[in-house]
């Protein structure tokens, strides 16, 4: 039995010669001037308790799909079969009146969701408690901070457990305390059988919550598998596109930025593999990984040094070294030679997103002889699958000894 059945759904936005033609179309069929399909042949089904992440670039049709499932947009073709109540968090704080109190707005939103008076009065205490904004709950919403508004909105949207919960990019609600709290609520719903449908660009969120992911590209489902598989595929897809833009850049006058170097030697490929030799985008904390860098020599050079730097999400430098320091500099290289570097290291990082910068130089610094400098040569994520929970960007597992001391 499936809770949600999407069968061959397509959505086209049509333009007509004039809007009068569009209206005439309701009665006598008119041929539209242009017909743009933003979704086509979308089919999938979701079982109770499943959590599905929808990924894809901006404009791939994710939000349109969610709107069709929620029912605000009508599909042009195909059917959506829903069993049970849907609660959609497409935009938090929709329709809040700034002059009225949080309590009044919460009531209003609940009534907009179709709850009757009795139910609303029943869930109000819970909403107030979950939002945790204290006395502000009875103050006009215009006095709220945006985080407080979000808290109330999220509390209302999830006051009653829906059969299907749709979340569009709204998971990063408020401060980290409330984020944690809302994640917990979502997880609890799941345990009770709620199906989750999440659109997010946050890879970690999708990996943490979902057991299946769907990749949309140009309005079509191009992958429907385990999140890791889909996310890796998605990243490869993006990487491919980025490369294309980089190439066009190099042709233009932007040469300095793309290869801030003299170009005698260049990095041809960069990838990260795990112990099994598979290319990865996401690594587990502590996992041994190998960074493979291939370089090509274009002009004879006396020395070649490869340097790399692993950076955090905000660009903070975490670890970097080069083959000069490790006394592995290469000498007397000839044109057209290719070199492969395999850098083995354990992923002793905290969960998060990291990037690798590379430099090919002629000495220990890239200042005097700089063949190529490449920022964001590679991006990878670290997730914590099996280690003790911790925070921070370094994995530094301790042994904690505890002794109970008695005062005598």
């Amino acid at each position: 039995m499936s809770l949600l059945e999407v069968a061959n759904v397509g959505k086209a936005f049509c333009t007509y010669k004039t809007e009068w033609h569009r209206m005439a179309n309701w009665f006598v069929e008119q041929t539209p001037m242009t017909q743009k399909w933003v979704l086509r042949h979308i089919s999938f089904s979701i079982k109770p308790g499943e959590a599905i992440g929808i990924v894809g670039e901006n404009g791939a049709g994710k939000s349109t799909l969610l709107k069709i499932i929620t029912g605000t947009l009508r599909a042009t073709e195909g059917t959506v079969n829903v069993k049970g109540r849907i609660s959609a968090i497409l935009e938090l704080g929709m329709g809040f009146n700034p002059e009225r109190s949080g309590r009044n707005n919460a009531r209003h939103t609940a009534s907009l969701m179709g709850f009757n008076n009795k139910v609303i009065e029943q869930i109000m205490p819970d909403i107030e408690e979950f939002a945790e904004i204290g006395e502000y709950f009875n103050q006009p919403v215009r006095t709220y901070s945006s985080g407080m508004k979000m808290r109330v909105a999220f509390a209302v949207a999830t006051a009653l457990r829906p059969d299907i919960l749709i979340v569009d990019e709204a998971l990063s609600v408020g401060d980290s305390y409330f984020q944690h709290k809302s994640f917990q609520r979502i997880r609890k719903f799941r345990e009770l059988g709620t199906t989750l449908l999440i659109v997010s660009h946050d890879r970690a969120a999708i990996q943490r919550l979902c057991d299946r992911a769907i990749l949309l590209e140009k309005g079509q489902v191009i992958k429907d598998e385990k999140p890791e598989v889909v996310l890796d595929f998605y990243n490869a897809l993006i990487a491919e596109k980025e490369k294309a833009t980089v190439q066009t850049k190099t042709l233009g006058d932007n040469r300095v930025q793309t290869s801030s170097g003299t170009g005698e030697a260049k990095v041809v490929s960069t990838k990260l593999i795990n112990q099994k030799g598979n290319e990865i985008e996401i690594a587990n904390v502590g996992e041994d990984a190998i960074l493979i860098v291939r370089a090509r020599i274009y002009v004879d050079i006396p020395t070649l040094v490869l340097g790399y730097m692993i950076k955090g999400r905000l660009g903070q430098e975490l670890y970097g070294t080069n083959t000069w320091y490790t006394e592995q500099a290469l000498h007397d290289l000839k044109a057209n030679q290719q070199i492969e570097y395999r850098i083995h290291f354990p992923m002793n990082f905290g969960p998060g997103s990291y990037s690798v910068s590379l430099a090919l130089t002629g000495s220990e610094t890239h200042i005097d002889v700089n063949y190529e400098w490449k920022d964001l040569a590679l991006v990878f994520d670290v997730v914590n699958n099996d280690k003790t929970k911790f925070s921070g960007c370094v994995w530094n597992e301790p042994i904690i000894e505890i002794t109970e001391l008695t005062d005598n």
Partner: protein, 264 residues
């Protein structure tokens, strides 16, 4: 149709709440608050009364009061303000609520009903103000005043159906919202509101038969100014016409609603 009514019933709480919010939020930050609801129409009506009777000294033979002309005008204005109020707010209704319609699932038919409710509340206060003025002018309403209820029902059916159709068209062709005030202005002058129908030359009178607001405004005159019962036959024909129009409106609404969100 029954489905439509069912969804309205299910969302009654939302509808009532929305009407309340609309009214309260209009006055919530003003110092005298709800008093404005009465003061505003009161000033408007007394303005007509003073300017037209006291200053211009206009009188009608048919009403035995020094302020007969003012009373006549006021009765007509009350009807027209409800009529134009409903239509004006319906025209931009779906566009104003575009974001809500795109993001939330709820019966869209609730929107015109909320608007209707807000306008009826305004009308109710205007009516109270008018009765107060009439009392001050020693024009005491009799039991026939209760005819106002069925007459108002006819009026809102007509206004809602026209407003709904205009509102739907306006989603697709935005010119409607520009044209509508002009049409209403023409309608105002083509309906005997500030002049009695008796002064119209006969060749114009014929055309009045095509103005659905004519019998409604005349009924308001009958009930409020002349303290009579209204002409039921003409009122009934307007009501039937309005019901047909309302049916067309709902039909159009049903046809349009799948595409409305696409265009908004």
């Amino acid at each position: 149709m029954t489905e439509l009514l069912k969804s309205i019933w299910k969302y009654r709480k939302f509808i009532i709440n929305s009407i309340q919010r609309d009214i309260v939020s209009r006055f919530s930050r003003s110092s005298v608050g709800g008093l404005w609801m009465i003061l505003h129409p009161l000033v408007q009506v007394s303005m007509y009364a003073i300017v037209l009777s006291a200053v211009l000294g206009a009188k009608l033979e048919t009403i035995s009061s020094d302020y007969s002309y003012a009373i006549y005008i006021t009765s007509g204005i009350v009807a027209w303000s409800l009529f134009s109020g409903i239509i004006n707010s319906c025209v931009s209704l779906f566009i104003k609520n575009a974001n809500l319609m795109k993001k939330m699932v709820f019966p869209k038919i609730a929107l015109p009903i909320i608007t209707l409710g807000v306008n009826l509340v305004n009308f109710f206060f205007l009516l109270i103000a008018v009765v107060i003025i009439f009392l001050l002018l020693k024009h005491f309403p009799g039991p026939n005043i209760f005819w106002i209820i069925p007459v108002t029902i006819v009026l809102i059916t007509l206004a809602l159906s026209l407003g709904l159709i205009a509102g739907i068209l306006n989603v697709f062709v935005r010119d409607v919202s520009v044209v509508m005030p002009i049409v209403l202005q023409l309608g105002f002058w083509f309906t005997p509101i500030i002049y009695p129908v008796s002064i119209l030359p006969d060749r114009f009178k014929f055309w009045l038969n095509f103005n659905p607001m004519f019998p409604v405004v005349e009924a308001f005159h009958d009930v409020l100014a002349y303290r009579n019962s209204p002409d039921l036959l003409s009122l009934l024909s307007v009501f039937i016409f309005s019901l047909i129009l309302l049916f067309i409106g709902f039909f159009l609404f049903k046809k349009a609603s799948p595409e409305m969100v696409d265009v908004l």
